[in-house]
């Protein structure tokens, strides 16, 4: 590793602008910078292609621009994901799932740019997102079903003597949802980026034979891009499934 630099150094947060608000340190950091870039990019990506898009009044209006095709692809992807997991009632929650998916996806993807910062590799960020989903889904369950929501922990068709054992297990599994959701994303990002950095250290250490880890890094970068997409997808589809659970219980 060059200059004895830790492969974990890339995850360090560096404040860019120190801000102190009511005694809280809310400095604008490199993490916040990449959140800004991600947010701006998503808004531009999904707004600009439709600014010039005319209403379809004739067949010649049917040809979308390339940017529009890309935006429609993202839109339809989440749309069908919700329709497949939740059904027609899922349309209401489309903006939430869409925002979550795009925010995580582009956060992950921008993290693949060298010298950038991956804010999804921080457990506090992923935990906040997962807790947000968890609280939203739980509140949704109570709003839809009231106290009947607790019947979610009782698996139907089970012998009564099994319930004392299984209800606590169900409750624990329910409560561990935000943890598994956040740790999955965080650990994937952490592991991938650390691995890339470790092998990048080998490249300079091995001299001529450094070409071997270099080839490996190139392949691994491809894999990491796949994982960046996959983890955003997993987060989104699990959110959909949790919403479905809250709406339909079993």
């Amino acid at each position: 590793m060059a200059k004895g630099e830790s492969p974990l150094k890339q995850f360090e947060i560096q404040p860019i602008v120190d801000i102190n608000f009511l005694g809280f340190d809310i400095s604008f950091t490199n993490s916040a910078l990449w959140m800004t870039i991600t947010t701006a990019f998503i808004l531009i990506f999904f707004t600009v292609p439709f600014l010039k898009a005319k209403k379809t009044n004739s067949v010649s209006d049917l040809y979308p621009t390339r940017m529009q095709v890309a935006a429609e692809l993202g839109f339809n992807f989440i749309n069908s994901l919700l329709a497949d997991t939740v059904g027609k009632e899922g349309k209401k929650y489309f903006p939430l799932v869409f925002t979550l998916f795009m925010f995580i996806l582009f956060g992950n993807l921008f993290g693949m740019i060298p010298y950038s910062f991956t804010f999804t590799s921080h457990i506090i960020v992923t935990l906040a997102l997962a807790m947000g989903v968890f609280i939203f889904v739980t509140v949704l369950g109570f709003v839809k079903h009231g106290l009947k929501f607790f019947s979610f922990f009782v698996i139907p068709g089970l012998p009564v003597y099994m319930l004392p054992l299984l209800i606590p297990i169900e409750i624990i599994s329910y409560l561990s949802r935000p943890i598994s959701l956040s740790v999955r994303l965080f650990a994937n990002m952490l592991a991938g980026h650390t691995l890339l950095k470790v092998f990048a250290g080998f490249v300079s250490a091995l001299g001529f034979f450094g070409i071997l880890p270099l080839v490996f890094i190139i392949a691994l970068t491809g894999l990491e891009i796949l994982i960046a997409f996959l983890q955003a997808y997993v987060f989104a589809i699990l959110t959909c499934l949790y919403i479905n659970d809250a709406l339909h219980l079993h």
Partner: protein, 152 residues
């Protein structure tokens, strides 16, 4: 691990995450996504209406083809009828013509035969009369000669 060591930046990270997530969520929910959905729905409607229009046109075309085929079949059967009629007529006409011609020929043959028979009879009777005349004149001549001989 900086993720767990830099606790002093937790509030900052949560704050900015909240800010940007809320901004993104709000803008997407209230402007971007409804716009995209409206656009896509309008396009889907356009495509669907075009498809239904096309279906109507196809049905129309099919009915026109059916109509045409019915008319074509009618015309064909009419044509064959006319041809058959014409054939029958022609056959009848030619047959009657042949018949009348044969009758005429037969008549002529008969008339000719009758004429020949008449002329034959005439000739025979004429010959008889001539024979008779010559016979009487011969007899009278002979008897005259005998008288003369007797008188001698």
């Amino acid at each position: 691990m900086p993720q767990l060591e830099q606790v002093e930046f937790f509030v900052s990270q949560l704050f900015w995450l909240g800010v940007f997530f809320v901004i993104l969520f709000t803008v997407l929910t209230y402007t971007t996504l409804p716009k995209i959905r409206a656009f896509l729905n309008q396009r889907d409607d356009f495509v669907k209406s075009h498809i239904s229009k096309q279906d109507e046109l196809i049905k129309k075309a099919e009915s026109i083809i059916e109509n045409y085929e019915v008319k074509l079949n009618d015309a064909k059967s009419q044509a064959s009828q006319i041809i058959n009629d014409a054939k029958d007529k022609a056959m009848q006409e030619s047959e009657s013509l042949i018949k009348s011609t044969e009758e005429k020929i037969q008549n002529e043959i008969k008339m000719t035969e009758e004429r020949v028979a008449k002329e034959k009879d005439q000739a025979i009777s004429d010959l008889n009369i001539q024979l008779k005349d010559s016979a009487t004149s011969f007899i009278s001549k002979v008897s005259k000669i005998e008288k003369e001989n007797i008188n001698l």
